[in-house]
Each structure stands twice: as structure tokens, then as C-alpha cells.
Symmetry: C2
Subunit: 402 residues, 2 copies
């Protein structure tokens, strides 16, 4: 079969992580994604001198077009592109597109089939809608910090930008749902995803513990089970790092005892069931720690793979960046970038057996395809392009030859 | 318009969080989702005495059917259902469906249009594919723990089950993409999402810092910016909790200084630009802390909303569970459950302007709709159902009347 989204054209106004990840997933499934940036580049491009690695990670397989949407001629170019597009993605702050005169109500008049996808911090309405939102603030407001960290330390953010990415991938799901429906109705619509909404269901364990305890607010439990109801369940020290180990079935505990050489505890009443072990968590953790702490983490892992005990070494970022499994899965891809040279960018976590993924191509330089896209899609002449360049309404950055 | 997935039938073999969240999103968009569980119930149902709140959160709007898929007659019932279905969702451990004789190759012979969605820990192939995987172990292996926590404490897991949910929502996106493509080709396919793959792109900041520093592995930075390149950017103590504050533009820093009554620092050379402030982060944090620490967190928040400084109070789980914005957005829904009474379950983070969401209805009891579904979809007679019940191949739990 062809690529799943082969004939879909996406105008991508995304910036930073949320919108760009959504449109990256569209691009990997074969959509033609046109990344439209201001003349100076999107926020992530100007954050560091030169294109940041984050920008390169999230903008593979996109055409780069730079247009000043604040100018009247720029707006008209955008509206002309909307006529030929299927999807618009944006994650500006609330109201920004309306202030540009390019909100959904305007775009749908130009193209009633357009699917307009809006990624927001707190959504399009409600008491917090107008507040500034970033991954950090949504983590604070949304319960991520409250549930992360050790009881004797302040609440702490999760390392990954999970609100941005959860929001972005929900937005992707909304777009593909609307594309499916458009096949039946011919009509487009507005898709809206709030990061704050998207993070809420992920608190299932904490909310479950909260409701089932009659509204008792639990302390953060570090790496232990959030309800303190499974044991062993922790991160244990080794000579060269840490390893997460948990037993969700008694047979796994028995396997663990055997590989630890602690058959003497097999019949011990304190550890018979998970309920018993949870009541003696401190002791369980001491027993496991005394076994792990004088070994290497991968050595412990090898033994536990053999014993079929759920576990994983805590990998550091350099280990993740070189992970053989992620390489095998083509999640880590090494590609060539015209200015930066060899770079590593992610592949697609979404795999369809009959629809090939796009080969991964480096993110565009700022405006790399401005002329090409405006010629192809709008039929602009060389003279028209030249004039637009002179007025600084569009921009094209030339590739640097190596 | 009608609901987006109005005519789609989903057979949901999902358990715990990953698969069930995926099919919950399908149900909210109007798909008929049939949750098929073993005779004793899925893992999340047996975890606690009575249906756990987590189960209730993730299985609204599904029909509950209980079939023993290990029996020959149960397998045949499932295959008969597959003939009438559009999508199968499963997140069993690797190979479980094949061992049941119900793998994709078998199902597609019965129904070539079937979309078979497989949520896995490490995916269907690769060196780690056969390892046991849970949210905790993927957090360890995938770099979440490495990037979460304070430098003077061990790595720590993120509170939310982000690997489960990220995996589940990617799977939803894969399914809707395949549904779109099936409209054009008439063909189904296998969708595969690995939680380990799905978490990798969310490390963008950590990987960016790693690559741009030439491979230097950074320490965890607690609540500070992962590259220590933005200041202020932290979680600050107040009288009754904490508040996250960050300034991404100089004008925000100036606003913050004004509301803190520190206009004396407006021209201070140590704090002129973000680069200056980052070099003096410790001092910046002291200045902000001395202002926040003798106030209530919502009092600080009110001032910062007015001053347009990015921030958010760190809400505790009870505050999140009662959040007025999440209620306004209908993400927190209070519904009636026949056994439990009033419960709170999530709504849909994916909103389509023209496609109404399903009204939220409580998760089914184990096998609540077994007879109804098998009668409606397969035309089984009362006698046939009775016989299957007698043989313990299907199960129906009666609603308890209140």
C-alpha cells in the first residue's frame, strides 16, 4: 500500500515541542508537511546559535517556508496555501491566530474542508484558558509534580517534557480522526487539545489511591509503589548505577529469592504474599539491596532476565542515546544534515504494517523550501518571488555546501 | 455531524492502562467498544476487592463481555465477533495472542479489513522484545528516571504512568490513521506501538543538552532548567506549598521584579539578560524565594497572573481532583455507577468541534453485556447462551440493584 497519509498537505505553524511533534508524526506517515516560520525563525530555532538539536529532532521530513504572517501580503500567501491544504496545525498562545486575522472562522471560509488543529496549554475556554502555559507550569498545575519525587524532598518535575508531547500526540489522534470523518462528510472541523486535559488521565494511580482511601492525600513515594501496595517495587543501588525491580506475582518473588541465594526465605511468613511483603517493605528492600549493591547493574539485569523477574537497569542519557534496541527499532536514526553533519533524530513510534514510513530526511533550514513551495503550490513566478523577498515578506536561507 | 467514529466496532482486549486508554478514546469518539475480559476479569479488575477506581476511570462507555478465550468455543466466539468488527486492541505480553491462536495472521484471514492494534512494552521485535515490561521498567530503561529528580538524590520515577498513556495514545493515533487509509483501500493492517519507542522523543531537552554539549551527561537538575540555561526557572516554597515560576523573556523578569518590589534590580548588571541571570541562578532563586516564602501559593499566583509572568502553583492531588478548570472543561465528570455510587471519571482530551463526544456512561461490570452483545452481534439464542454459561465459557454479572 501507499503511505497512509500520502496525499495530505499540512500547514505546520507549530513551535517548540507540542505542535512540531504532532506534525512530525503526520510527516512520517507520508503527509506533505510545510513548516511555516516567521522571518526570524520559530522560537526553538532562535533559542541557540544555530539550529538546536531539539529543532532537528522534531522537524525531520518537513518543507521549510518562512513567511511574515503579520504583513498583508504574507497573510494572503497563507490563505492561498490554506485553499490547497488539508490540515493546519498551530500551538500559539490563546488568540494569537485570531489576532493575525487567521483564526479558524476565517480559514474555514476559504476552505470548508480544512482541519484546523489547535494545541493549547489550558484549552480554548475555561477559567485558566488565558494563562501562559509551558510544560513546567502544566506539570505544576496538573499534578505531575505533586506525585513525583521523595517524601522528604520538594515535589519535582518529570524530566521529559511529557505535557508537550502528550498534548501533541493527542492532537495527532484528533487530526487523523477528523481526516477519517472527512472522507465520509467532506467537511473539516476544529480540533482542540489542552495539555492540562491530556495529563489528567495519566494520574490514574494517584487518583485511584486518593479515591479508594476516602480522599486521603498520599505523600510522594519516590520509586516505591504509589499505594505502597506492591513489594518489592523500588529502584535499588548497584556498583555502577541503579536498577528497578518489582514483583507482581508470588512466583516472581520466589524466582528472585532463588537467584539471590535466599531460598531460606521461601517459606518465611513475613514474605508469603504481596500483602505480607508490603507490610515488610523496608526489610524486603534491605534484602534486595544487599544483593544488588555489590554488583554491576547489567550483571543484575542479566540474572533477572534469566529468572523472568520484572526489572530494568536505570539507563543514563548517554546509554539511552546509544541503546541497541532503540537503534534496532530505528527509533534512533543517524542522518546527514547539510550544516551540522551527522545527527541523530527519532523515528516514528507509530508503525503500520502495510504503510511504509517516510525515509527520514533532515529538518529544513529556515525557509529552505520557501521558493519551491510557493512556486509549486501557488504558481508564483520568479519575479513575484523576488519582489516578496525584497519586501522581506518571505525568506529563503541557502544551504551551506560542505 | 455524527460522532466521528459512529459506525466503528472495536474489540478491546486491553488491560491495566495502555490498551484501555486507547480504546476509551475510541469510545468517546463514538465507536462501539466491546471490552472482552477473561472469566475472572482483567488484571486491573482483580487488583482490588471490587472494581478499582483506575478501572472505572479508563473503561467508561464500553460494553462488558466476559469470554474464556482459552476454550475452543470461546475462541470461535471471538473469531465470529472479529468478522463483524473493525478494530482489535490488545496489550498482552509479547506472543500471548499467537499462543491463543488469535494472532493477527489468523484474524486477518477471517476479516481482511480488520485493524489489529498491538500495544507493547518494547515492541514486536528487537533485542529487548521478550522482556517483561511495565510502566516502571520502561521509565528506568527509557531515560525518564535518569532525567527526573535532584542531583543529590537517586533517580526517581515520574508520578504519572506516562509510558502506559503515551503508548496508548500513540496506538489510538495509529488506529485512526489506519481507519482513514482503509476508507481508500478497503484493507486493514497491523498497528504496533512500543512504550519504549514512544517515550524516546519526549527526552528532547535532555538529548539536546547531551548532543549540544558534545556528549556530556548532565546531572539531574531537580526543578531547574535541564540545561541550566533559563533563570528564574524553578519551584519556589510558599507558606502552604510550592509555586513554579519561570521567565523566558526579559520583560517577564522586569514584571517579576516590579511585583516583588525590587525595582532596584532592574538595571543590575548581574540580571540584565537571561545569560546573566543563568550565571547568577543561585542569587536569582534567593531573591524570588524571599518574596514567595511568606505568602500563600494562590496569593502569589494571583499577583503573577496580573503581571503576566509564567507560573503555576504546584497543586496537590486533592486540589487537582477538584480543579475548577478541569471541571469546566468536563475533564472531571461525576457519574453514577450501579455498585459504587457517585464516581469521578475523565472526559476526552480530544475535542472535535463538529463531532459530539459520547455522553459518559460508567464502566461495565464484568461481563455486564455478555448476553446482549452475543445476541445482537452473533444472533445467539437464549438456549445457546445458557449452555455457554453452564460450561463457564462466558460469564455475565448481574447489576446489583440499589
Amino acid at each position: 500500500m501507499k503511505k497512509a497519509l500520502e496525499d495530505i498537505v499540512v500547514l505546520d505553524l507549530g513551535q517548540i515541542y507540542n505542535g512540531p511533534y504532532c506534525s512530525l508524526m503526520l510527516a512520517f506517515q507520508g503527509a506533505k508537511v510545510i513548516k511555516i516560520e516567521p522571518i526570524k525563525g520559530e522560537n526553538l530555532r532562535v533559542r541557540r546559535k544555530g539550529d538546536s538539536h531539539e529543532l532537528l529532532m522534531l522537524n525531520s521530513n518537513k518543507k521549510g517556508v518562512s513567511i511574515d504572517l503579520k504583513s498583508e501580503e504574507g497573510k494572503q500567501l497563507f490563505l492561498d496555501l490554506v485553499k490547497k491544504a488539508d490540515v493546519v496545525v498551530e500551538n500559539f498562545s490563546l488568540g494569537a491566530m485570531d489576532r493575525l486575522g487567521l483564526g479558524y472562522e476565517v480559514l474555514k471560509k476559504v476552505n470548508p474542508g480544512i482541519i484546523y488543529a489547535s494545541g493549547k496549554g489550558y484549552g480554548l475556554d475555561g477559567p485558566y484558558a488565558e494563562r501562559l502555559a509551558m510544560d513546567l507550569t502544566i506539570q505544576a498545575m496538573g499534578g505531575v509534580m505533586a506525585t513525583t519525587g521523595f517524601a522528604d524532598k520538594p515535589p519535582v518535575k518529570a524530566g521529559p517534557a511529557l505535557c508537550d508531547f502528550l498534548g501533541g500526540i493527542h492532537l495527532f489522534g484528533g487530526i487523523t480522526t477528523a481526516l477519517y470523518q472527512r472522507e465520509k462528510t467532506g467537511k473539516g472541523q476544529l480540533i482542540e487539545v489542552s495539555m492540562h486535559d491530556a495529563i489528567y488521565p495519566t494520574l490514574a494511580s494517584a487518583l485511584g489511591a486518593y479515591y479508594s482511601s476516602g480522599g486521603k492525600v498520599s505523600q510522594r513515594t519516590g520509586n516505591q509503589h504509589s499505594g505502597m501496595a506492591t513489594s518489592p517495587y523500588n529502584v535499588y543501588p548497584t556498583e555502577d548505577g541503579n536498577i528497578a525491580i518489582l514483583c507482581v506475582a508470588d512466583r516472581q518473588w520466589h524466582s528472585l529469592l532463588r537467584v539471590m541465594g535466599r531460598e531460606d526465605l521461601l517459606a518465611d511468613a513475613r514474605f508469603q504474599t504481596n500483602v505480607d511483603r508490603s507490610a515488610n517493605t523496608k526489610l524486603v528492600d534491605e534484602i534486595v539491596t544487599s544483593w544488588t549493591s555489590n554488583k554491576k547493574k547489567l550483571e543484575v539485569s542479566d540474572v533477572l532476565i534469566e529468572a523472568n523477574v520484572p526489572h530494568a537497569p536505570v539507563l543514563s542519557i548517554d546509554e539511552v542515546a546509544d541503546d541497541p534496541h532503540l537503534k534496532y527499532r530505528k527509533m534512533i536514526r543517524e542522518i546527514e544534515h547539510p550544516e551540522v553533519g551527522k545527527i541523530r533524530v527519532p523515528g516514528s513510534p507509530i508503525r503500520l504494517s502495510e504503510s511504509p514510513l517516510e525515509e527520514v530526511v533532515a529538518a529544513p533550514l529556515l525557509g529552505e523550501h520557501t521558493d519551491e513551495v510557493l512556486q509549486e503550490m501557488l504558481g508564483l513566478s520568479e519575479d513575484q518571488l523576488k519582489l516578496l523577498h525584497q519586501k522581506n515578506i518571505i525568506r529563503q536561507k541557502e544551504k551551506v555546501m560542505q
